[in-house]
Subunit: 426 residues, 4 copies
């Protein structure tokens, strides 16, 4: 299991250690932000940094402290209303598109709230590690999800400021040679998909990765690496955004309605294409993986290439033998952006560079069951209208990637670090 | 194959006979319509009856007569612009939401156009049956699709007229006893899904039914019959439309945004629920299958029942041994509405009553290839954001149902004759 | 009074004669229409021709026959729901944007309804001419308003048909020389504005023309004629639609949001600008008055000219000495379009060519009172957000123009025969 | 003149003194705000506090320092793009609805910018008072306008925070007895309207108050005081928001579309109606003037009362003899809310309580001319779709009210301190 791979075996001590380091990472990610930076919401899909910091604490406060620590008193009833995300079972909550108007509580107050929750969790840790280690694990993985969102949401906000704000200073460029694109044959026939049952001793997994089940794969091959910025530039120059027959019908509507002509965060500069990064604007590096593309764009590119997107099962099967800690990892605050992988055998860079769009709609596995109680709303209710992404990005925290992980977004969304890898039938 | 099952084997004679009878059915369906009825468009999803009549003729004119009959001259270039539906390769076309403003050409002129095309096809039949029988088949199945749409679109239009217009006179009610709901175990393990390759002698199939391929099914059971109006009434009375936890997140948004509280075409009357039919308003019959429900509603009902929707493969496997001509069939113009099936063994009423929502997103089969040329836009480009429906409805023409058929609509759409059958894991 | 000027003095006979001729004109205007033409609604602002024919009859049926003829029975309660326009006091009514879905009743049935109402009015005329001649007058002027709307609404519908439908055959062009633009000084100081009180023997007037009152005018001059197509072409070529500083802020938003770059119904053709007319597409005649422009466009043109729009009082004062029957008049069915006036002294063509946008917001006169009862909703409730137009157009029926007439539309609307005349301070 | 009434006669010294005190007031109003408070934008109509502080400085920087002080260098070209409001002549600018995403520059940086501008103005004051005192005056009045907006915009933002944020601590209530409503006859016949020409020695006035001109008034009377909260409660209880016939058609659409049932910032509490104030939520005082109502609501209330709204000329004529410094005034930072006037003779509380909706559409005066250059965009381009308000509110800074002042807003807007006074014809 992912967590086992990186941690010891005394569960309480391990949980305690991981709790501290994961919670500390959130703080350090927000460290360069002003109160205003942490408050603004640049579109309905994103949330303020302050909100991420508070909501992930609300999760621990509600499902651990309130539900399992008898003497605990909520920090504030009003805050529970503000920082519930979408749990219908937890009652009414503040409307999502209004999150950016919550100038109060201040960032300082939210940090105090976090400290209060951390202190209470620390005190109750022996009890919690006993009674409900899965909920604690869930809380930590939930926090890690919000760490990635915090970064992508701040990137979106800063991208819209004409002053070109950078979260972190620019790093020297590491120029790499793009490995040649090669096809790697995948497993075919019956394979096992999904996470091992963690009740039975498997590592942590979300409910949507379960149950493990058989799936039949037809013969196919995957590209050894993701598509690069340079290859995407060629697609643009070949008129890819203007050829209706390359696009899904919904995608063609989207391209025309939103006037899409390049990835999100690209702009034409004097010397060619530039992209916005967490360190501000810079020229694209043609060898780096293309990122911030929608499913529609990924699908159109694949059609233009005479290939297709891989299914989620093809990607999972290919990932099973790989080490999820092998790629880029979000270990500490500091510039993260996808980058050209080193050349080598087999599949390169499946973990820790860009989330790879699969061609699979996000639907439940055979035998899927939601968890009991409010946390049962975690995944199942989003299983329509979205597509699965596999792997993990440069902004995914270490310990949060695994072959069975199913990330999911709507096909037009692209503010995450999304990219693509081609597949073809054999 | 479906067509073979109902027809002879001299291909030209068979095609000619089927061409005549299918084309004649379209005319008779439109027979009760005034010029205005045939012109109006009640929402962007539907098309005017006149447009259906013209567009299905444009299909034959363009892909058969223009492309394969040397001397043929198009009836009118301007009409080609008006009656192309969505074929980007065929050039620009009239905007879909404006179809209801085409008061000219008149219904009379459209019928003349049909006669002209029919005459040209009749003359060219020997040549066409030789050179391109698949295109002719495609044209006939295309026409049958538009027959069903013509009926559902007119039903939608008439439902919005406060005067309560009926297409056909009401029929005497055939009161049936609702068969008890029983679970029927389905096949599990590896099964074959999809249509046999018709190049290899199989019956007609659309490209989205191909290629035939292996699929692994987990143990499961299907309900013996669709859910009834009476069962749906219980769902309503139990507050099913108001319990957030039953619904997919997108569905819950839709229910609240559109203020949905019952199936489309239901209204509260003095004596209880009434529904709009092609014969006007009438009291619901509790034993009849519920219809005009969205995927979201079907999914919420299944959750409320402690069950789930079947996958498209589960439904297809169950349908493979059944006779697609066994249920209701659209053989001639006249009142069609779903009705309670007779009791019996096994799965009842899978064909010819209501299209059954599967839980499967509409995506390509492994190895899917679009056809060459403009007809390649037939299915593939719609493979995002929609769900598969299996079986066939009371408004599906005879000869147009088969186990491998994949109908598809967006999850909020409900003006088709849509219903549901429950499934569960074993 | 306008009506007195054209009619005799036996009130019942006069009313009866005018009733017949006005009602007959409506029928003849609709004569070229198919049932579908008369049913379609091309935008929310317009109504189907069938609806105009029925609604104007509903007005007579409701406010004359139902309210003042004891034995009269309504043709149909359901129709009253369908054909009430906006009279809140008359109860709920069919939603305006859905009028185009009323394929039933048919045009034939609506014509029968008209005949039935006409017959009942004919029988009751002596009584009605006695008890409520003002209501009868109101009904006739109301019918005339809908005659003009019927023509402008059909023009809008036909303009959207790519086949280029004409209501009437084209007429030979009468080429006129555009009179030189001259400034004519207007009256200044205190003047009387508004219609003479018709209770006191004045001619018919709507409530919004009352009461007559004093108004102070500063020294000013009006252009002798409306702006021409040729002058508008110069405005376009000078970049008038692209210079923000010429436009009202709301107008500039509208121009950009709607991508406006020329009058409604203009299009670029091979030989220059063409415009859609009730006789189909034809080349613009540069000497004809420009028409189908919004208030925003009129105001921007005036700013570009270094002039301004006249106030409604300036236009009314200038119109008072003129003969309202002097210009074009809608006397019978047949092609009507604005045309270049003959040259002459003073103000040319104020009546019967184009409705002239004034710079006056449509607000109540000092002392304004709405009528008692449902007809009190006739004008007063529209007194926000609109601007006054004066004069009358080529599609205004004879007898329906007078100096005190206050037509009004929203500043972005332009499907009426609208134009402009410049003014300046002296 | 208003300013002369409160200030000395050495122009440079006077301007300098007023510059300092007005600029200082802006700072003190923003003093309780966090960086986040000063950044958020709660709807497109409002602007962030930080933006107001920066934009009013940009005005001085651009039209005074850049245009008239040779050595001056702009603080930042990028900021000019951010803080131009709507001056087309000044080039492209940041989109208004995105102002709330400008988390940078920080509030601290904006205050530095202000200090820099103030220092430059101080140094250049002798020159500026000589060359362009009118522009300096304009800048000061512009700053005062933004002081009022800053307060109303912050009030809107804070009202949406479920935590109930207060800008200032609550004050003890001063309970007053509501003066009886009495009618005061106004001047009739020809009166002079508009500001005296300030080139000719008159006090400062905006271009929209000019030129002074004659206007004819019919006999009428005005209520002695504004409508109170208690009277508005009666309107609500009498079903005023649900009676279509009381409302303008646009207003009725607005009430239904937006589900309006009470003034903005009212909510039902346990003990009756409460309203949000700059000191947080509190019970309404029935004697205080009603505020935060739209023109539509004011007009409906007047109709319900059997009265009407006054015209702007009626209000101006009534205000001419009154002292504009007599009511509440924004002299320093601290709680401001409308309050019940003391009883007395004549018209009470016309200045300094609530802006009073007139029934007059905001249009140019006869002979109106916009100023030369960019400042010519100040008022004229907004002269459509809005209504005039007269008087001044509790949040209007001292020295910024005068009889000829024409405030203007759209008829649905109500986040300003708006109220109404009844009028009637005599």
């Amino acid at each position: 299991m992912a967590t086992r791979a990186c941690a010891g075996d005394d569960r309480a001590a391990d949980l305690s250690r991981r709790y501290q380091s994961i919670r500390a990472l959130s703080i350090s990610l927000a460290e360069p932000l002003t109160d205003a930076d942490a408050t603004a919401q640049s579109m309905a899909d994103v949330s303020p940094a302050k909100w991420h910091l508070a909501h992930s604490s609300w999760f621990f406060e509600t499902f651990l402290l309130r539900d399992h620590v008898p003497a605990y008193e909520n920090y504030s009833e009003a805050w529970a209303f503000l920082f519930n995300s979408y749990y219908e079972a937890e009652g009414p909550r503040h409307a999502r598109p209004l999150r950016g108007l919550l100038t109060r509580p201040t960032l300082r107050q939210v940090l105090d709230y976090r400290a209060r929750v951390d202190e209470a969790i620390r005190e109750a840790m022996p009890r919690l590690a006993e009674c409900c280690p899965e909920l604690l694990e869930l809380g930590l993985h939930h926090e890690q999800q919000h760490q990635e969102l915090l970064l992508t949401d701040i990137k979106h906000l800063f991208s819209l400021n004409p002053l070109g704000v950078a979260l972190w200073p620019a790093q020297p460029r590491r120029r790499n040679t793009l490995p040649e694109l090669r096809w790697v044959e995948g497993a075919s026939g019956l394979i096992e998909i999904g996470a091992p049952d963690h009740q039975g001793g498997g590592a942590f997994a979300f409910d949507n990765e379960l149950p493990r089940h058989s799936h039949h794969l037809a013969p196919h091959a995957l590209a050894n690496r993701p598509i690069s910025n340079g290859e995407w530039r060629t697609f643009i120059e070949d008129g890819g955004y203007a050829k209706a027959t390359l696009w899904l019908s919904d995608g063609w509507d989207w391209v025309n309605r939103e006037q899409i002509a390049h990835p999100l965060y690209w702009r034409g500069g004097k010397g060619g294409w530039e992209q916005f990064t967490l360190s501000g604007w810079r020229a694209i590096d043609e060898a780096d993986p293309v990122t911030h593309i929608s499913f529609y764009e990924a699908d159109a590119f694949a059609a233009w290439s005479g290939a297709r997107l891989p299914t989620e099962q093809e990607l999972e099967a290919a990932a099973q033998p790989l080490d999820p800690c092998s790629g880029l990892q979000l270990d500490q605050a500091g510039p993260v952006e996808p980058r050209c992988p080193d050349d080598g055998e087999g599949l390169l860079s499946l973990f820790g560079n860009v989330w790879e769009w699969s061609g699979s709609a996000y639907r439940p596995y055979p035998g899927f069951r939601t968890a009991e109680g409010a946390v049962g709303e975690y995944n199942g209710k989003f299983m329509s209208g979205q597509f699965v992404l596999k792997g993990g990005s440069c902004a995914t925290p270490r310990g949060h990637m695994r072959p069975s992980y199913r990330n999911f977004f709507h096909p037009h969304q692209r503010w995450q670090f999304t990219g693509l890898r081609l597949a073809k039938d054999c």
